[in-house]
């Protein structure tokens, strides 16, 4: 067994019987995120899958306080929490804003950019399941090229995914990291690290979604792993501007044995209408991003 498993906080912060789907990637990631952040935390969230996981009135499965807010307002809500806690001398509490790709890449971008520019002392977490999954798998700007969604139902998505992490990085925040629930220890470590840093921190979770991506729930970890193995998702952190590949992505870079994206694409029903040209475009996009990361690895 991985020896570092024992260092993980044993306490569970999500009680059994939540409303999350079977094999939910977000659920697995949230489990380790809360273990890492522990009790002294407040989460704020918009309408999204997490809002469903957080439960319906009058019960919640989650043992950390949470504040629901409207879709565009997640990061601004964190600003309000930070200001309110500061005014009440409770700034020891870690404030976390957490939204999906819809609430981050699309509607939440303004509030997030504003909060980051103000150097708000909070952790922003985007769980990226590459679409508006809570409302039934509609296209978002995080949906990859060639994916079927309920708003790209015939032709598939015609554009590449927005490189949102670059936009966040342009805010020169002290800490930024990408994680996957397929690598829970890497995820846990990054949240532990983020908790200790002051200022705006951003963590991006690649969250596989069985109903949205159309694969059996049992394959959630496998799908997360394949995303990393193919370079579709890259695990790294940027600390005070210093870029560093981590975990499996680091190993892949060292060994040069990244898998072709077809290995990832063929396992998901959402890509069933993808044509060869799109597949090549997606592979080229992944290669270009990967090369950028390799270059930064050499430079930093």
């Amino acid at each position: 067994m991985p020896a570092n498993l024992f260092k993980v906080n044993e306490k569970e912060y999500i009680l059994p019987g939540s409303r999350a789907c079977q094999g939910c990637g977000l659920s697995l990631a949230y489990r380790y995120m809360l273990k890492a952040l522990r009790e002294n935390t407040i989460v704020t969230l918009p309408a999204c899958c997490l809002c469903v996981l957080q439960g319906m009135y009058p019960s919640t499965p989650v043992l950390v306080p949470a504040l629901n807010n409207s879709f565009a307002s997640t990061a601004a809500s964190a600003s309000g929490l930070v200001a309110g806690l500061q005014a009440l001398d409770r700034s020891d509490i870690t404030v976390v804003a957490m939204a999906g790709d819809g609430g981050t890449f699309d509607m939440g971008i303004q509030a997030l950019s504003g909060a980051a520019e103000r150097e708000t002392d909070f952790i922003y977490v985007c769980y990226d399941n590459e679409g508006y999954m809570n409302t039934g798998t509609q296209r978002s700007s995080a949906t990859p090229l060639g994916a079927l969604t309920t708003t790209t139902p015939i032709l598939t998505k015609q554009q590449q995914k927005k490189d949102f992490i670059k936009i966040v990085e342009a805010h020169d925040i002290p800490y930024l990291a990408t994680v996957s629930p397929a690598y829970p220890i890497d995820l846990y470590d990054k949240f532990v690290k983020a908790k200790k840093i002051k200022g705006t921190r951003y963590i991006h979770i690649y969250a596989p979604c069985p109903p949205g991506w159309t694969y059996p729930p049992k394959d959630t970890v496998k799908m997360g792993r394949l995303a990393v193995e193919t370079g579709v998702a890259v695990l790294f952190e940027v600390e005070d501007g210093k870029f560093r590949l981590t975990g499996r992505s680091k190993t892949l870079a060292e060994r040069g044995n990244r898998l072709p994206v077809i290995n990832y694409v063929e396992k998901q029903g959402r890509f069933r209408k993808m044509n060869i040209e799109q597949l090549n475009q997606l592979q080229a996009w992944v290669n270009r991003k990967w090369d950028e990361y390799m270059k930064r690895t050499e430079q930093d």
């Binding site: 019960s59 629901n68 807010n69 409207s70 309110g84 806690l85 500061q86 009440l88 509030a111």
Partner: protein, 401 residues
């Protein structure tokens, strides 16, 4: 010790917020509110007010910051105008639904398109159904006093309060204002006790999804469905009337000034025709009433101070002797008439007050409204009423072809 200073409406509002000891301010500048946002920055940066100022990137975020800071237990303040208020619209509903005692100044301005930076009340009037209390001021003294009163009201009924005053007409006009003693204000306004629990010691998930029906918690306690929560907000606004009146009385006792509670009256006792309006246009109407009386028309004025909750009992009482009622409004409900006109008619329906109500739209986008024009409009209205024509809304001082 209180002292008199000459100041603008925006300054008066800032002094009111400062005296109220607000702990978090979030605002995005917009004409004519900008000066208010600037003064609050000066107060905080200059050390005159110990508070957090969040310089947000939008009005939507301004209200969101207020919502979250209020949920953890901080007293919060914001201000906006026109399209800024419209951009907040979603969060106005959220703040009221979450029952947060936020106080916001709306420095009234017309909304685009097309653009205007000048005054009317279309901005706040169109937020009528967001669940906020709306109080309108007629001078700068009332602005200062009402901001202080608003916190006491909001924190008693757990409903947010919008303190509205006319852009430029009040916001940028200097008037003498008596500044209340800070210690007396602290006594008048006890510290904010939140009803929300947002603390790691007692984890709660606040404002989640509610079922249509009621649902038991694990202790077998039957908890509200969405509709019960809505009813509670409705009931809170209904019950706010007594708190508003009690607060104005208590304020008068300490500071020697009252602003009328739900509404104020001017020479209504023997008036045959009553002019009504909201905010500074009602003040102007008092001058018009004087003119009309000089011409032999017994006129009086009812100034609506609180628009939500609507002062239904109060207007029934104030208008009980009226033979005719004319409303002057700086806002309109397109496709019908002025909102005040409708609400007034509804409040009087089925009561012994049978006086016809005639509606005038005036002063949109800063169009000048002179007392003389109001007086002429009253005479025209009376002629219409005489002829039984009260359906048609009069557009005052407006070329209608």
């Amino acid at each position: 010790m209180s002292k008199v200073q000459i100041m603008t409406g925006n300054q008066a509002a800032a002094v009111g917020a400062t005296l109220s000891g607000v702990q978090v301010v979030a605002a995005y500048p917009i004409t004519p509110q900008s000066q208010l946002a600037e003064i609050m920055s000066q107060q905080i940066e200059g050390g005159k007010l110990r508070a957090e100022y969040v310089r947000v990137e939008s009005e939507h975020s301004a209200m969101t910051v207020c919502i979250s800071a209020s949920t953890v237990g901080a007293r919060v303040f914001t201000a906006t105008s026109a399209n800024g208020l419209l951009y907040m619209h979603e969060q106005l509903h959220w703040a009221a639904g979450a029952r947060l005692p936020i106080v916001m100044c709306c420095v009234n301005r017309g909304v685009g398109a097309p653009w205007t930076i000048f005054n009317d009340q279309q901005d706040s009037l169109s937020q009528r159904d967001t669940g906020w209390l709306q109080i309108y001021c007629r001078n700068n003294q009332e602005i200062l006093d009402t901001v202080i009163q608003a916190y006491r009201i909001a924190e008693k009924v757990y409903v947010p309060v919008m303190v509205c005053f006319d852009g430029f007409v009040l916001s940028h006009t200097m008037m003498p204002v008596d500044i209340p003693d800070a210690g007396a204000v602290r006594k008048f306004l006890p510290p904010y006790k939140p009803h929300t629990i947002l603390s790691p010691e007692d984890p709660r998930n606040i404002n989640p999804v509610l079922f249509p029906g009621r649902r038991e918690n694990t202790e077998g306690v039957l908890c509200d469905g969405y509709m019960e929560m809505r009813y509670k907000l409705f009931a809170a606004l209904d019950g706010a009337r007594d708190v508003i009146i009690e607060t104005d009385d208590a304020f008068a006792e300490v500071f020697g000034r009252r602003h009328g509670g739900m509404l104020w009256e001017y020479m209504t006792e023997d008036a045959d025709v009553i002019l009504t309006g909201i905010g500074s246009i009602a003040s102007e109407a008092t001058v018009a009433a004087d003119m009309l009386r000089e011409e032999g028309v017994k006129a009086g004025v009812v100034g609506i101070r609180v628009f939500r909750p609507f002062p239904k009992e109060d207007v029934r009482r104030a208008l009980r002797k009226a033979q005719a009622i004319v409303t002057f409004e700086k806002a309109v409900s397109y496709g019908y008439e002025g909102g005040l006109c409708s609400d007034l008619k509804a409040a009087l329906y089925g009561t012994e007050v049978k006086a016809p109500v005639h509606g005038c739209i005036a002063g949109l986008g800063g169009r000048d409204v002179k007392a003389r024009e109001l007086a002429e409009a009253v005479k025209a209205s009376l002629a219409d009423i005489e002829d039984g024509r009260t359906e048609k809304t009069l557009w005052l001082n407006c070329f209608t072809g």
